[in-house]
């Protein structure tokens, strides 16, 4: 009981405290987890900085409300999972798996997403270079052809989900994959670049015209961040 309370208050103070910018950029493996608790990472740009591609209002709701709910829920179910483990309650542990996948996935996906976006005056939209550019050209012929196929994949998602450029950890090749809901890119594939195709990611600005959102988002893609993820 005591440990639960301590953990909860630690999570709250961590959420309130603004993490230093450098640790935000460190990303998933860095300090978005404090004492085993996930915390909402700061954005490295202002909410309005991605306009006109993504409105400030969308960014604010998306980060402060949606992403934060995944963080809070993940921590909550994570605590329940630890309690179930402590009691050796296997049924409860299994019942919690989809919730860990969904909320933990939501946290991972959004953290990576914020990092792979950037305002145009901070490199957003500048084409990839080096190894990633080469990998894309080899697999898709050109960056434009890649974008077209990526947008087709995004448009083909039935319901909520994400499209990712991933690297196959077995072959090293890059490919486009779509994931349902908040399923994160884990296991055989390494996330390189993700685009959120949930309606909350664009609806206030684009409504049902999601193809316009998919077209506009390339203006604020941070290819430098994507390059760093490629191994």
């Amino acid at each position: 009981m005591n440990s639960t309370m301590l953990r909860t208050s630690a999570a709250r103070s961590a959420l309130r405290a603004a993490a230093p910018k450098s640790s935000t950029r460190a990303g998933l493996a860095g300090t978005t987890f404090v004492r085993g608790k996930a915390t909402l990472p700061d954005l490295s740009y202002d909410y309005g900085a991605l306009e006109p591609a993504i409105s400030g209002k969308i960014m604010e709701l998306h980060h402060k409300n949606h992403h934060n709910t995944y963080v809070t829920s993940y921590n909550n179910f994570s605590t329940q999972l630890e309690e179930a483990k402590a009691k050796s309650d296997i049924a409860a542990q299994i019942a919690l798996q989809p919730l860990i996948n969904f909320h933990g996935g939501g946290h991972i996906n959004h953290t990576l997403f914020w990092e792979n976006l950037a305002p145009t005056n901070q490199g957003g939209g500048d084409p990839p270079t080096g190894k990633l550019a080469q990998a894309i050209n080899e697999s898709y012929g050109s960056l434009d052809s890649f974008k077209e196929k990526f947008n087709t994949a995004l448009a083909g998602i039935q319901g909520s989900g994400w499209a990712w450029l991933v690297q196959d950890t077995q072959t090293g090749n890059v490919q486009i994959r779509t994931y349902a809901n908040q399923d994160p890119v884990v296991g055989q594939f390494r996330p390189i670049l993700g685009v959120d195709a949930w309606e909350h990611a664009y609806y206030l600005q684009y409504q049902n015209r999601k193809a316009e959102y998919f077209k506009a988002i390339w203006d604020v893609i941070n290819w430098k961040a994507a390059e760093k993820r490629l191994k």
Partner: protein, 249 residues
């Protein structure tokens, strides 16, 4: 040639549904390969009739854009399907299944949804319009409040896009009520399953008004549930419920 003929068949069926049939119009006869064209059903109320619980802007986009897109894509998929059937192209037929399920599901779900909503001030929006259904709800969940709590929990538990439905499940002479959630646009079409009313939990159904506050949407939707329609579906058969789809062909 074939595609031209098929287009004209689709066009004729469109004319039929809009009641502008010329007297010398040939009765439409579907060839083996032609697919009937589905059309967007009209709403039984104005776009702003569900305010303040669902805004007119949401209703207009939801009906005239989202639902229309499912209808358009369903017709396109069915047209390709008819060609694949005609040419005995099995791989193409199988590959079209997902698109047909998604878009037909979207058309079915939304058609049922519009009919199971009603303006809050109308008598249809009162549970007293559904005496038999409410009686079975009470015997199943204890009372109406407990049912609403259970329904709400199911709706809020959906991970991603989907729907929540109250369903009558018939097994032989027995029947029971169940709360069922479905993902994306999967429709409730199982054997013995009669959808009573559904609530759309896609973000497009509430986001412009409720933003991330979906619990408030789920709370407010009770004000505009059409209990009269629900009672009719509860007392009727599965075929009765889906009859409305035939009227939008």
């Amino acid at each position: 040639m074939r595609s031209i003929m098929k287009s004209s068949v689709a066009f004729v069926s469109f004319l039929f549904t809009t009641s502008t049939i010329a007297s010398d119009q040939q009765p439409f006869q579907f060839e083996a390969m032609a697919a009937p064209s589905h059309t967007l059903p009209a709403l039984p109320y104005a776009y702003d009739a569900l305010e303040p619980h669902i805004s007119a802007q949401i209703m207009e986009l939801h009906h005239s854009k989202h639902h229309q897109t499912y209808v358009t894509n369903l017709n396109a998929a069915m047209k390709t399907q008819a060609e694949a059937v005609h040419t005995s192209d099995i791989p193409t037929q199988v590959s079209l299944q997902a698109a047909i399920k998604f878009n037909a599901g979207g058309h079915i779900n939304h058609s049922l949804f519009w009919q199971n909503l009603a303006p809050a001030s109308s008598p249809e929006a009162k549970p007293s319009s559904a005496p038999s259904l409410v009686s079975q709800i009470k015997s199943t969940w204890g009372d109406e409040a407990a049912f609403r709590e259970a329904f709400k929990a199911a709706l809020l538990g959906i991970q991603g896009s989907g729907w929540g439905w109250l369903v009558k499940v018939e097994t032989g002479a027995e029947q029971r009520l169940a709360i069922v959630t479905t993902k994306d646009q999967d429709p409730v079409v199982g054997k013995g399953e009669v959808p009573i009313f559904g609530v759309d939990m896609w973000e497009h159904a509430y986001y412009l008004q409720y933003l991330n506050g979906k619990a408030a949407y789920v709370e407010n939707i009770w004000n505009v549930i059409n209990w009269k329609t629900a009672e009719e579906r509860f007392l009727g058969t599965r075929a009765d419920v889906f009859k409305l789809l035939k009227t939008s062909i």
